[in-house]
C-alpha cells in the first residue's frame, strides 16, 4: 500500500530535435496512510511525474528508473503492462470540470467507472463519502460548481479502492473554502490507508492547512529538498525552498529573480545557480544529501 519512485528520468524528444528534460533522477517514497506533496513552480516537471505513475507518458517519451505500487496483493511495476489504473493507483485530475465528459451526467460516468473496475461500491455511496448529496450526481458537469466537479473526480478515483492516489493540482482555481474541502478529502483518503501523492503549486494552502506529511520540492526536473512538511516549512535547507517560501504573501511576497527555466535541452546538472548566482548549493555536480528523514541537494564534495 505504498508508492515508490526510483531514479526516474524522463526525456521527451521534440520534432525539432531538442529534448525536454521532464524528470531527472527523481526518487520518492510515499508510504501508506500519508500525503506527500510535490511542489514547485509551474513548468518544473511536476505533472509529468503524475503521468509517469499512471503509465501515461506521452508517446515517444524515453524513460529509465522504476515506479512500484505496493498493493495488498504484492508489488506492481506500473510499466509492466498489467492493468492497474483505477484499481491500484488512481488519478484525481486538474480541473475536473473539463475532465468529465460534458454530455453525460456525473452519475453515468461514475457508474461506468464502477462497472469497468468491477467495484462493489455504488455511486451514491461514493458521493456520500466525498461529501456530495447523491442527487447532485444527476447533474451534467456544467451544472456543477468547480468544487462539486472536483469531488466527483475524487469519487471516481475512490471507486476502485486504490492503494495509491495521485492528485494533480486538484485545487487549481478553487477558492479557499473549496480548496480546504478537497484537501481535507485527500487527508481522509490517506487516513483510510491510501498513499497520496499531491502535486500542487499552491504552497499557501499547504502551509495553511498542514495537510501534507512530507514535502518534496522540485526545480527544473530535479528534486531539491525532501522532508517532513512542517520541518521544511519552518526551516528550509535548500536556497530554492527558502526562495519559494519567501514568495508567499504571509512571508513577505519576495519575488524570485528571473523566470523559471525552460526544460528543453537542460544541462546535465542542477541549474539553480543561473537563477540565483550567489547560491552555494548549485553550479557544479550536485547530489541529494540524506540527513535523518530529510534530504537536500548540494554541491558534491570533491575528494
Amino acid at each position: 500500500m505504498s508508492l515508490r519512485v526510483e531514479n526516474l528520468t524522463v526525456r521527451l524528444p521534440l520534432p525539432n530535435g531538442s529534448v525536454v528534460h521532464a524528470a531527472s533522477d527523481v526518487s520518492l517514497d510515499v508510504p501508506r496512510g500519508t500525503i506527500t506533496a510535490l511542489v514547485g513552480e509551474s513548468g518544473c516537471g511536476k505533472s509529468i511525474l503524475a503521468s509517469a505513475v499512471m503509465d501515461q507518458l506521452p508517446a515517444g517519451a524515453r524513460r529509465s528508473g522504476s515506479i512500484t505500487v505496493t498493493t495488498p496483493q504484492g508489488a506492481l511495476d506500473v510499466f509492466a503492462g498489467e492493468p492497474f489504473r483505477g484499481l491500484h493507483a488512481a488519478l484525481v485530475p486538474q480541473s475536473a470540470a473539463t475532465h468529465l465528459t460534458p454530455v453525460r451526467t456525473a452519475r453515468s460516468q461514475l457508474d461506468e467507472t464502477i462497472t469497468t473496475l468491477g467495484s462493489p461500491r455504488t455511486s451514491d455511496e461514493l458521493a456520500v463519502r466525498v461529501g456530495l448529496d447523491p442527487s447532485a450526481l444527476d447533474c451534467y458537469p456544467h451544472e456543477l460548481s468547480g468544487g462539486m466537479a472536483q469531488r466527483v473526480a475524487v469519487a471516481g478515483a475512490l471507486a476502485g479502492d486504490p492503494s495509491v492516489i495521485v492528485a494533480d493540482e486538484p485545487t487549481a482555481s478553487l477558492d479557499r473554502a473549496l480548496t480546504d474541502r478537497v484537501l481535507g478529502l485527500l487527508r481522509e483518503c490517506a487516513d483510510d490507508g491510501a498513499a497520496v501523492l499531491l502535486i500542487t503549486h499552491d504552497l499557501a494552502s499547504l502551509v495553511r492547512t498542514g495537510v501534507a506529511d512530507r514535502l518534496a520540492v522540485m526545480y527544473a526536473s530535479r528534486l531539491m529538498e525532501t522532508g517532513p512538511a512542517a520541518e521544511v516549512f519552518d526551516d528550509p535547507w535548500h536556497d530554492y525552498t527558502r526562495d519559494l517560501l519567501g514568495a508567499l504573501p504571509s512571508r513577505g511576497l519576495h519575488p524570485l529573480p528571473g523566470s523559471p527555466p525552460q526544460l528543453t535541452d537542460l544541462p546535465d546538472d542542477c541549474v539553480y545557480f543561473l537563477r540565483r548566482p550567489e547560491t552555494r548549493q548549485s553550479g557544479g555536480p550536485t547530489a541529494l544529501v540524506q540527513v535523518g528523514d530529510r534530504s537536500y541537494r548540494t554541491l558534491r564534495e570533491v575528494a
Binding site: G146, A172, L174, R176, D202
Partner: protein, 220 residues
C-alpha cells in the same frame, strides 16, 4: 482623483441582479483589495468599473466625471482610462498574434504611438519573447505580457480580476511587485480582486469584502 462606483445594480440578462446597490472607491496611487467567495459578483463589479458592462442602476465615476456609456460608446476623454487584467492570460490573448502585437493592439486601435520595448522592459519581458506566440511562453510570461498590454494604454486605473489565481506563488509575487511599482511610479489606482486574503493583506492599503459593500434593496 478616484475610480468610483455608486449605488451599482448589475447582473446577467433577465436574472435577478448579483449586485444590489454596491459602492466602492479606488483612489489614484493606491491598491484597493476586494475579496469574496466564488460566484458573489466580483467579476461583474470589475466589468462595470472597467466600463465593459453597463449597470442597471447607479453610476461609474472616473476622476469626478460620470461615464456615459460602455466600451466604444464611452466619451472620448474617458475611453481607455481603465484597463483590466483578467484571470486567464490564455483566454484573454489571441493565439495567432505575437506578444509584440498583443501588447501593441489596444494602443494601435486607439491610434496612439506605443513603445512596446519600453513597456515590455517595465514588466520584465525580455526582447526575445516579443516575437513568440502565446503557446510558446508560460502562463506567468503571458500574464506579464497582458500587464504590459494594460500599461501600454496608459490607464489611470487598473483592475486585476483574480489575475494571479492561475499562477504559482513565485510568479504571483513577481506580478504583484510589478503592479506596486506602477502604482508608485505612475500613480495608477489599482483594484485587486482575489479570493486570497493573505495576498490582499500583504499588498493593499485597504481591503473590502464584497458582501460589506452591498446594501439590501429598499423594501417597498
Amino acid at each position: 482623483m478616484s475610480l468610483e462606483a455608486r449605488g451599482v445594480v448589475a447582473g446577467y440578462r433577465r436574472k435577478p441582479p448579483v449586485l444590489t446597490d454596491v459602492s466602492i472607491s479606488v483612489p489614484a496611487g493606491t491598491i484597493v483589495g476586494l475579496s469574496g467567495p466564488s460566484g458573489t459578483g466580483k467579476t461583474t463589479l470589475a466589468r462595470v468599473l472597467a466600463l465593459l458592462d453597463a449597470p442597471r442602476a447607479g453610476t461609474v465615476t472616473i476622476d469626478d466625471q460620470v461615464a456615459t456609456g460602455t466600451r466604444f460608446a464611452v466619451q472620448g476623454d474617458l475611453r481607455g482610462s481603465v484597463a483590466m487584467l483578467f484571470q486567464s492570460p490564455r483566454a484573454s490573448t489571441d493565439p495567432r498574434l505575437t506578444l509584440r502585437s498583443i501588447i501593441a493592439q489596444p494602443a494601435e486601435v486607439a491610434r496612439r504611438p506605443v513603445d512596446v520595448e519600453g513597456v515590455a522592459a517595465r514588466v520584465g519581458l525580455t526582447p526575445d519573447l516579443l516575437t513568440r506566440r502565446p503557446y510558446q511562453v508560460s502562463d506567468g510570461q503571458l500574464q506579464r505580457a497582458c500587464l504590459a498590454r494594460a500599461l501600454a494604454q496608459e490607464p489611470r486605473y487598473l483592475i486585476c480580476d483574480e489575475a494571479t489565481a492561475m499562477l504559482d506563488a513565485a510568479t504571483t509575487a513577481t506580478l504583484v511587485r510589478l503592479v506596486e511599482a506602477e502604482v508608485a511610479a505612475q500613480g495608477v489606482g489599482v483594484l485587486l480582486i482575489s479570493h486570497d486574503e493573505e495576498l490582499l493583506a500583504a499588498c493593499c492599503s485597504q481591503v473590502s469584502a464584497l458582501a460589506d459593500l452591498r446594501r439590501a434593496p429598499v423594501q417597498r
